[in-house]
Amino acid sequence: MNESTLRALLLTGFLVLIIIYFTTRDSAFLSRENGLNILVNASVIGIVSLGQVLTIISGGFDLSVSGTVPLGSVVFAILVNRGWGILPAVGGVLAVGAVCGLVNGLLVAKVNINPLIATLGTLSVTGGIALTIADGLQIPFSDPNAGVLAEQSLFGVNNHVWILIALSIAIFLVLRYTVFGRYLYAVGGNREAARLGGIRVSAVTTGVYVSSAMLASLAGAVLASQLLTGSGTVGTGSALLSIAAVILGGASLAGGVGGVPGTLIGVLILGTLANGMAIISVPAFYQTIATGLVLLLAVGVSQARRLRLGI
């Protein structure tokens, strides 16, 4: 059994343990309704994490999602309130995301700024723009039907979850079967070797940051339709949560390692934890502590294994 399969099994086992624990504390936890609840809530971070895993595989990471998500939510709310249909509004949101991603890509690939600093900078800018556009306030949907995506469901599963599933499959296929995906693993695994082999590392890097920002922006739109409000203050924890989920799922910050299945399990673990703690009425700040501890534990165990195997 190889390393990544073992890891996936361990993570799933961990998830099962968490579920069992919370069920023993409150049987209401283990219900179809709650399960769907977890999925719907997780879909926002899930979408962001799909973009984050791309950047992390390529050897960087994207902190600016904490600003792009609220920006996406605000832009979506504004466009919908102006009478734009859902699809055009989503298109507008994606366009905004693409611009943010382009800026990130240029800063990292051409100006050669460290991804940490570059995306930290764009985080402040996009977050600031989100707050400015919304005048620091919320932008409620003038027509509650615009949140229609959140209300509708297919086969009893909320549309937002289907969006997450569809995107997960798409990103999985990109990573496994496309040239771009292959280049991501190459650039993340050894940037210099990729460059010397004639791969256009700048183009790949820019593409990855554009993808990440577009997904984050889309997640913002999804979040807005769940809250029926666009706001510059929601989704500001997206960066840390998505990075935690991706690393929990087995990706390496050094790059070259990672995938969709692990990321989804990471997202589920974090989402289940948050939900469970809310159900047993753990105060909010304990939840943050618990999330951090879980991340450290999981990564610690994984690193210890890697050290022992000499990887």
Partner: protein, 500 residues
């Protein structure tokens, strides 16, 4: 009788089954400059690292002033008075020169120190030993020659009595080299014992008193420089050939040029001076020279790594606009195999199949989607062409042996059926069996018509593989050997070492 400054007796070191050093013994007097010579892999660096305290020997004694010593860490070696200046200098680039000089010797006064103190201390030491250095500038702003001076001053300021220098002039021009050699004699005059590791026989004969020759981990010759001559030294270095089957060369008679360089010039270090050469179809042209002579620079430029090189380049009849970037190099039909497979050539986390196909993804995909079956077929073909030994095409490259990794690297470059192959150190760190197979592969490629430019620091390999061997020195081609044989090694080493 006065005990020698340094006495090594029966030093041995083994890595796995490989005996890197065996029964090495010699002495060094105060004020003596001893040269340590040997081919790559002969054990020079390991010996230097043992003296520096970076590597523990498996056997043998080290005595300083007659007293046996052992070092667990480099710091202990320093305390005993041995300073090692490696080929790749180790310093803190963003600190000032003065701070680098006093590194590790800051005063233990309430944990506080000051740049002013460092400046004063460094200045007084520089004065004492007669060094002229810009003490307040950042280390990284200095030239390589100056940086080496700083390293040497660091060593002397610590009252090091034995200084080991590893190929210090490798990347220096002749002026700076002479300055360094003068500095070395100055050190010797003041009673320091110097061990000078080098490939440059001319410098050895000019500046050293004694010479020790290592071959395959054993010390095969020790004498005063005045008692020997370069021919003898070379003979000791090469000794009897390793008993290995030499792949026969076909007589090539191609007339089409696949690669032509005309008047290449480079002013940055290491420089190139009016280099012109041609590679014909079906020919393997070898480039050999000491480090910094220009051989690896030419290869790297063909790989797109030195956009500052001026001159004309023609590949398969097409004149190239410029080789500014590896992408341009690949587009021109040049397949470049870099020197360091781990850091420059391979993505160790990819599988064998993925590595083989990495450079030709465009040809193996439609609208951005990888054609799995085609990729598999390509990988299988290349794996058999290079005679790869792996558990399967899905095995991670990082798990393969050095020789097999090298085969994957070379194979990945062949995937695009290039016009010309440019290889650097194709069998570095590769076992004898894999080395032979790679040599066979290259000769087969030559027979099939692919031209190759080969840069290697292994003189034996250069003579085995090349149809024509060009010797470089100080950035220019100084000698050409047609159809070299094993016995051409002496001739090549002569030309590369600057002896007439």
């Amino acid at each position: 009788m006065v005990e020698p400054l340094l006495a090594i007796d029966g030093l041995a070191k083994q890595y796995g089954h490989h005996r890197v050093l065996e029964g090495v013994s010699f002495t060094l007097e105060a004020g003596e400059t001893a040269a340590l010579i040997g081919e790559n892999g002969a054990g020079k660096s390991t010996l230097a690292k043992v003296l520096a305290g970076a590597v523990r020997p498996d056997d043998g004694k080290i005595c300083i002033d007659g007293k046996e010593v052992s070092f667990a860490t480099p710091r202990e070696a320093l305390t005993h008075g041995i300073a090692f200046i490696p080929q790749e200098l180790v310093y803190v680039p963003n600190l000032s020169v003065a701070e680098n000089i006093v590194l590790g010797r800051w005063p233990r006064r309430a944990g506080m120190t000051s740049p002013a103190w460092a400046l004063r201390q460094a200045a007084s030491e520089a004065r004492r030993f007669g060094f002229q250095l810009p003490l307040d500038r950042q280390m990284m702003a200095l030239s390589l020659a100056q940086q080496q001076m700083v390293e040497i001053l660091k060593a002397v300021a610590r009252n090091s009595r034995i200084i080991v220098l590893d190929e210090p002039t490798a990347a220096l021009n002749s002026e700076d080299s002479q300055q360094l050699l003068d500095l070395m004699s100055g050190l010797a005059t003041s009673g320091v014992g110097v061990i000078y590791i080098s490939h440059r026989l001319d410098e050895v004969f000019r500046a050293c008193r004694t010479v020790h020759v290592l071959r395959n981990g054993r010390l095969v010759h020790s004498s005063a420089v005045s008692d020997t001559n370069p021919k003898d030294i070379i003979r000791h270095m090469l000794g009897r050939s390793i008993d290995e089957v030499i792949v026969p060369k076909e007589r090539f008679d191609g007339s089409t040029k696949v690669l032509e360089l005309e008047d290449w010039e480079r002013s940055a270090s290491p420089p190139l001076r009016r280099v012109s050469l041609a590679v014909y179809e079906g020919e393997i042209v070898g480039l050999y020279g000491v480090r910094g002579a220009g051989a690896e620079t030419i290869a790297e430029t063909l790989g797109g790594l030195h956009p500052d090189v001026r001159g004309r380049t023609t590949v398969a009849g097409h004149a190239l606009h410029a080789l500014r970037h590896p992408v341009a190099s690949r587009r021109a039909g040049i397949a470049y195999v870099p020197a360091d497979r781990k850091s420059q050539g391979l993505v160790l986390t990819l599988s064998v199949q993925q590595s083989f196909s990495l450079l030709v993804m465009r040809a193996l995909s439609r609208f951005g989607v990888i054609a799995g079956r085609q990729e598999g077929a390509t990988a299988r073909r290349l794996a058999s062409e290079v005679r790869l030994r792996a558990r399967g095409l899905g095995q991670m490259v990082g798990e393969l042996s050095g020789g097999n990794q090298q085969k994957v690297l070379v194979g990945s470059r062949l995937a695009s059926t290039p016009n010309v192959l440019v290889l650097q150190e194709p069998t570095r760190g590769v076992d004898v069996g894999a080395r032979l197979e790679i040599h066979r592969l290259l000769r087969q490629l030559a027979k099939d018509g692919t031209g190759a430019l080969l840069v290697t620091s292994d003189i034996e390999e250069a003579t085995i593989l090349s149809d024509r061997l060009l010797i470089l020195r100080d950035g220019a081609i100084v000698h050409e050997i047609h159809q070299p044989t094993l016995s051409s090694q002496a001739e090549a080493l002569h030309a590369a070492g600057g002896l007439d």
